[in-house]
């Protein structure tokens, strides 16, 4: 789910500075959403039925769909045991369907805008830093390549090592006193979400995305925050999604959880939050157990209860940053808390996305721990 829908707002929001005073009470995302709902998607393809995902080809760009992203988050530790989190994401939005003959002679007359977010969390120092890059796909300032897959926005990039089946990614991004250089690998195959990779977001046909995840990528490398470089290792999560989707009118935002559990499995769940605070029927997720067995989750499979809030001094927005998560059918209960309360990205799009960890119990009464990322949007 993630920022997919909200991201189309970029077309307008990315270009702006702070909205003028009268818009202050509206979060930036809402302005974007308003715009998005009125958007004409004519000419773009829509995700209408399941299709076989093909790798590594589908790691590349799908420009016939309006929006797409490559999303990397991870929970890492230094040799001293200090906990860190990172986020590096690449978003693409199509201004119009690709045209074979672009009108005009200017190299700047292009179809795609790209945005990348970089954030690093330092649990020990209670620090969080987030930066942004935006470019259109002119002059190779930003873009995506296939064989081997690579996406980049200006100097930031995520690149697959080669064409082999093993997933090996190299992430590289930096902005002054913050940055990362990380190597990610796994022998696991990507996990298709939804119905064989088709993830429905609303009742309308085509109101869906193609969505897959790599929940557990072994990660090593260097993080930089406040100018300090730290050697780290741990696990990362990669999410990929593309669509030409619209958000139902009564959906205000979403709460997304991507967790690696101590049973060796993973849990992805998003709750689409309606304006009245209830969960939308199209909320859902995917549970992979330690043996690699997958189970789709629907709205009623997961119980979510906020247990702590944090109000942003920048935006004034109040986010539920700690949660109790229960899957009654598994007798799984987890209490999740953020590494740092302030993990709000106050960039072109404003949202809270942060490293979390938790502990609780499972069916046999044994202990279960988890780490991962939580995304709170539309608050």
């Amino acid at each position: 789910m993630r920022l997919l829908l909200m991201f189309s707002a970029l077309v307008l929001a990315a270009c702006s500075r702070e909205p003028a005073s009268e818009d202050k009470q509206l979060p930036r995302a809402s302005i974007g959403l308003r715009y998005l709902r009125a958007k004409d998607d004519a000419g773009f393809a829509r995700a209408e039925e399941p299709r076989a995902l093909a790798f590594p080809v589908d790691h590349g760009s799908h420009p016939w769909f309006r929006t797409e992203w490559w999303y990397f988050t991870g929970n890492l530790k230094s040799t001293d045991g200090d906990r860190y989190g990172f986020e590096l994401t690449f978003f693409r939005v199509g201004l119009r369907p690709p045209e074979v003959d672009a009108p005009g002679q200017s190299a700047w007359r292009r179809d795609q805008i790209w945005m990348a977010h970089l954030a690093v969390t330092d649990a020990t120092q209670q620090r969080f830093v987030a930066r942004e890059r935006i470019a259109r796909d002119a002059l190779d300032l930003a873009g995506a390549a296939a064989a081997p897959a690579r996406v980049w926005v200006k100097g930031w990039s995520a690149a697959r090592g080669d064409e082999s089946a093993q997933e090996r990614w190299r992430l590289s991004a930096g902005d002054g006193d913050v940055g990362l250089q990380l190597n990610l690998t796994t022998d696991d195959a990507p996990v298709p979400n939804g119905e064989a990779g088709l993830d429905r977001k609303g009742p309308e046909p085509g109101n869906a995305s193609y969505y897959y995840s790599l929940p557990r990528l072994a990660t090593t490398g260097v993080l930089k925050i406040d100018g300090r470089e730290v050697a780290v290792e741990g696990n990362a999560w990669m999410d990929r999604e593309w669509s030409t989707s619209a958000l139902a009118d009564d959906v205000a935002g979403w709460d997304w959880f991507g967790l690696r559990l101590s049973d060796g499995g993973s849990l992805m769940f998003y709750r689409l939050r309606r304006r009245d605070g209830t969960a939308d029927a199209f909320s859902g997720g995917m549970r992979v157990d330690g043996a690699g067995r997958r189970r789709r989750l629907t709205r009623d499979d997961v119980e979510l209860t906020p247990i702590a809030y944090w109000a942003s001094p920048v935006s004034g927005t109040r986010y539920p940053i700690a949660w109790q998560l229960k899957i009654p059918s598994e007798q799984l209960a987890l209490e999740l808390r953020p590494y740092v309360p302030n993990q709000e990205l106050s960039l072109s799009v404003r949202y809270w996305e942060g490293a979390v960890s938790g502990s609780g119990t499972k069916r046999d009464g044994g202990a279960m721990t988890a780490d991962g990322y939580l995304e709170l949007a539309g608050y």
């Binding site: 003028a20 200017s106 190299a107 100097g155």
Partner: protein
């Protein structure tokens, strides 16, 4: 006791409503003019700052080309290879509007995705803009139009607009109207387009004008140390230094003129306050006699002044507000005319100006009231009651004041000679001269009257003699009024003389500078490729005697951004007025390409002298060029230099030109030559052809428009002076009631009395007017030689003429005579008993 004193004050003013009105008028006028000028000034300054800030945004540096423009690949180099986080590609060019001949407005081509951290165009803000950014970026030929222009042209979203670009007409589609970002500020954005559209419209695919950057100091240092080939890094604002310095100087001048009004106002306050004390000397004497302490009297008078100040300052603020509404357009137009090509609307001025005005008005009133208050408190009870004592003191005071003027003059001279060479010091010196003039006025008046008495005494009738001698005998009442009038008239004279001198200098400069008869100019962004064939053919046109050629461009030199004119002169030479020594040697060195001539403004602003070297970037490396001379330049644009065209071509490898000067043979048909020139250059060439007489006429028109604001302020000073003298003299003459009564009693006819009163006010006016002659001339000399030079770097010939001086004298006498009309009418109708009982 204080209550008693306050009631006494109140009673006095209730019985003398004229007195009250005049005191209030003096303060109100001074505060009003000051506040009005400041408000207009601030409003204009903000409007321009906002306009500039809108385009500048939070840009800290610019990467600009050494040549005409940049390869867009440089942008890639900056954001990817050098990983600069905030960098925006910009294309900027002036375009014409077909429906609005003569108007050229800036077209700004930007990548909207890179503007977030730099500029805040309302159009790019969600929910605020009236345009669709997706369409702006994807559809060729789409633009956003600033609201004011849209209103003028009747353009609306969906309509078409015909632009003139490089001589071609191009139709663009209006996607949206760009208003102001916020509601309280009216800053006009430029015509906006996506960078792709701008490249296509301007026919420059692959090229950009510059890159706007936001860098930290260390990032800037790193980039400056290794800029991409063909570029240099300049600090934002540095290239606007010439404009900023001019605009600041202009505003300082206006502020000083506003302050001058307040100074004149202060004199009026002093004169009314001391007069109000004088009139009550009997009451005060009685109060002292019944045991009121000097301290109580002092505070009573100061409280009275404070109340007056509060009321009058309040009125003054209202007056200033009204005045500002009229002045602000003048100020805006003046700055806009010379310094900017675009049009801006006034912005809301800072409310602090009202506070400032109120504080200044109150302080001025208290300061003005201090001496009368001290006089009232200090005098012994008996002496206060005696008029004769008072007049003796006044005469002694006149002599002391005159002596005090000498050190003031010395201070003024010392500030000029040894003080800092800035505007504030210059105005300090000017105010010292004015103060000295005011101090000298009473003694000068006495001397003048004594002279008149001796020379003309026997030819004058008795009423006139009484009037002449009365001036000297009533110095306590007349001294300050005359001084105030003299200062005001001197201001009027000085400003008038300065404008006259300036206009004369400008006119003769234009004659020297305009060496050709016809001028053909192209926009520097679209130069002409005029090879030697074209020039040879031009020489063949019947009526053409010679041709001069120029290439104008803007470069980032070692002393900031400067305008370069590379020039191959015709028969009449460079047309430069060299002001830095021998002209022949300088012009010869210039012609031989041994260096450049720099404008006086550049020399002054950058503290340069002949022999210093300027370093100019060129495609074949930095060129170090010595300054061979300074020339007079009344242009208000960039700082400028002139070099020989051949010298330019040797290092810049650029054979294009932007200007042609055509000399005509005697009797040649200018219109026919113009047509032939147009034919030669081709119908596509975007050029403007003007005759030298047309340029001269236009320049003088602009000059006159520029000085309209100064003329208005001069007029305001005259009004303040007029009302001031009216009020002071009216009060004085009304106070002479008893004296008039005595004269009537000893047999003077009513007509004689009227004559006597009128003669006396006329004489006071004459005295003030005469003092204002040298004082005004000194003021003008300071304005011409010091203030204008320090403000704008312009030197000019000081050419005093009698016109403005005569007008000043007439104004002084006229105001004085007018002030005497009512008292003289009253004097002629005086009823004996009442008059004698008055005191």
């Amino acid at each position: 006791m204080m209550r008693l004193l306050n009631r006494a004050s109140l009673r006095f003013y209730l019985r003398h409503p004229w007195q009250l009105g005049l005191a209030v008028a003096g303060i109100s006028l001074g505060v009003g003019v000051f506040v009005g000028v400041q408000l207009a000034n601030d409003s204009a300054a903000r409007a321009f700052d906002l306009s500039a800030a809108l385009v500048r945004g939070s840009t800290s540096h610019r990467l600009v080309p050494i040549g005409a423009d940049l390869d867009e690949k440089v942008y890639r180099n900056i954001v990817i290879d050098r990983d600069v986080a905030t960098a925006a590609p910009v294309i900027e060019a002036n375009v014409g509007i077909a429906a609005h001949p003569g108007l050229r407005i800036p077209l700004l081509g930007v990548d909207p995705t890179q503007e977030r951290n730099l500029r805040s165009f309302a159009a790019f803000t969600p929910g605020r803009g009236n345009g669709d950014l997706t369409r702006l970026m994807t559809e060729p030929g789409t633009v956003l139009v600033p609201a004011a222009l849209a209103a003028e042209l009747g353009a609306e979203p969906g309509s078409e607009l015909t632009l003139q670009i490089a001589g071609r007409e191009t139709v663009v589609h209006v996607l949206g109207i760009v208003g102001s970002l916020t509601t309280d500020v009216q800053a006009e954005p430029p015509l906006l387009a996506d960078i792709a559209t701008a490249q296509e419209l301007l026919g420059m695919p692959g090229r950009i004008t510059r890159i706007d950057l936001r860098l930290t100091e260390s990032e800037a240092a790193a980039l400056a140390a290794a800029t991409p080939d063909g570029t240099i890094l300049v600090r934002e604002g540095a290239q606007r230094a010439a404009f900023d310095e001019l605009a600041t100087a202009f505003r300082t001048n206006l502020t000083a003129l506003g302050l001058l009004a307040l100074v004149v106002g202060t004199f009026l306050i002093y004169s009314t306050m001391s007069f109000a004390i004088l009139q009550r000397r009997a009451t005060l004497g009685v109060l002292r006699a019944i045991g009121v302490t000097p301290r109580e009297l002092l505070s009573s008078v100061l409280v009275e002044a404070l109340v007056l100040a509060a009321v009058a300052t309040g009125l003054g603020l209202l007056l200033g507000r009204g005045l500002a509404a009229g002045l602000v357009d003048l100020v805006l137009r003046t700055i806009g005319d010379i310094y900017f090509s675009s049009v801006v609307e006034a912005a809301r001025p800072s409310p602090w100006i009202y506070v400032q005005g109120a504080a200044l008005g109150t302080a001025a009133t208290l300061i003005a009231a201090l001496k009368p208050a001290l006089d009232a408190a200090r005098a012994s009870p008996a002496a206060v009651l005696r008029r004769a004592t008072l007049e003796r003191q006044a005469k002694r005071g006149a002599v002391v004041a005159a002596w005090l003027a000498l050190p003031l003059l010395a201070v003024s001279g010392a500030i000029l000679a040894y003080g800092p060479k800035n505007l504030v010091a210059a105005f300090g010196s000017l105010f010292a001269v004015l103060a000295a003039g005011a101090l000298l006025t009473p003694l000068a008046t006495v001397a003048l009257m004594a002279m008149l008495d001796r020379l003309l005494g026997r030819f004058l009738g008795l009423p006139a003699v009484i009037a002449v001698r009365g001036v000297g005998a009533s110095l306590s009442r007349t001294g300050m009024a005359t001084a105030a009038l003299a200062v005001a008239i001197a201001t009027v004279n000085g400003v008038g003389l300065m404008i006259g001198s300036f206009r004369t200098s400008l006119s003769s400069w234009l004659e020297t500078t305009l060496t050709a008869d016809l001028y053909v100019t192209a926009d520097p962004t679209t130069p002409l490729a005029a090879d030697s064939d074209v020039l040879a053919m031009l020489m063949e046109v019947p009526g053409v005697a010679g041709v001069s050629v120029a290439r104008a461009l803007v470069v980032q030199s070692s002393v900031g951004e400067i305008a370069v004119r590379a020039f191959r002169p015709g028969a009449r030479g460079f047309g430069l007025t060299i002001v830095s020594g021998p002209a022949d040697a300088a012009l010869a060195a210039l012609a031989q390409g041994r260096g450049v001539a720099a404008s006086e403004r550049l020399m002054f602003a950058r503290h340069l002298s002949v022999g210093d070297e300027l370093t100019l970037p060129s495609p074949s490396g930095p060129q170090r060029l010595p300054i061979v001379g300074a020339y007079r330049d009344f242009n208000t644009g960039n700082y400028a230099i002139v070099m020989a065209l051949e010298r330019y071509r040797a290092s810049w490898n650029d054979l294009t030109i932007t200007g042609l000067g055509v000399d005509l043979r005697g009797g040649a048909d200018a219109a026919a030559v113009e047509a032939a020139v147009r034919g030669l250059l081709g119908p596509k060439a975007a050029v403007r052809i003007r005759s030298s007489s047309g340029i001269e006429e236009l320049s003088l028109q602009v000059f006159d428009r520029t000085f309209q604001i100064t003329e208005v302020l001069r007029l305001l000073a005259a009004v303040v002076a007029f009302l001031g003298v009216l009020s002071a003299l009216l009060a004085i003459e009304l106070d002479r009631g008893r004296e008039i009564g005595v004269l009537r009693a000893i047999g003077f006819a009513p007509r004689d009395l009227a004559t006597s009163v009128l003669t006396q006010t006329g004489l006071l006016g004459l005295a003030a007017g005469l003092v204002a002659l040298p004082l005004g001339t000194a003021l003008a000399a300071l304005l011409v030689h010091v203030i204008n030079r320090r403000s704008f770097g312009w030197s000019m010939e000081f050419a005093p003429t009698f016109g403005p001086l005569g007008a000043g004298l007439a104004l002084a006498i006229g105001a004085a005579l007018l002030a005497g009309v009512y008292p003289s009418w009253r004097a002629s109708r005086v009823v004996l008993g009442t008059a004698l009982r008055e005191e």
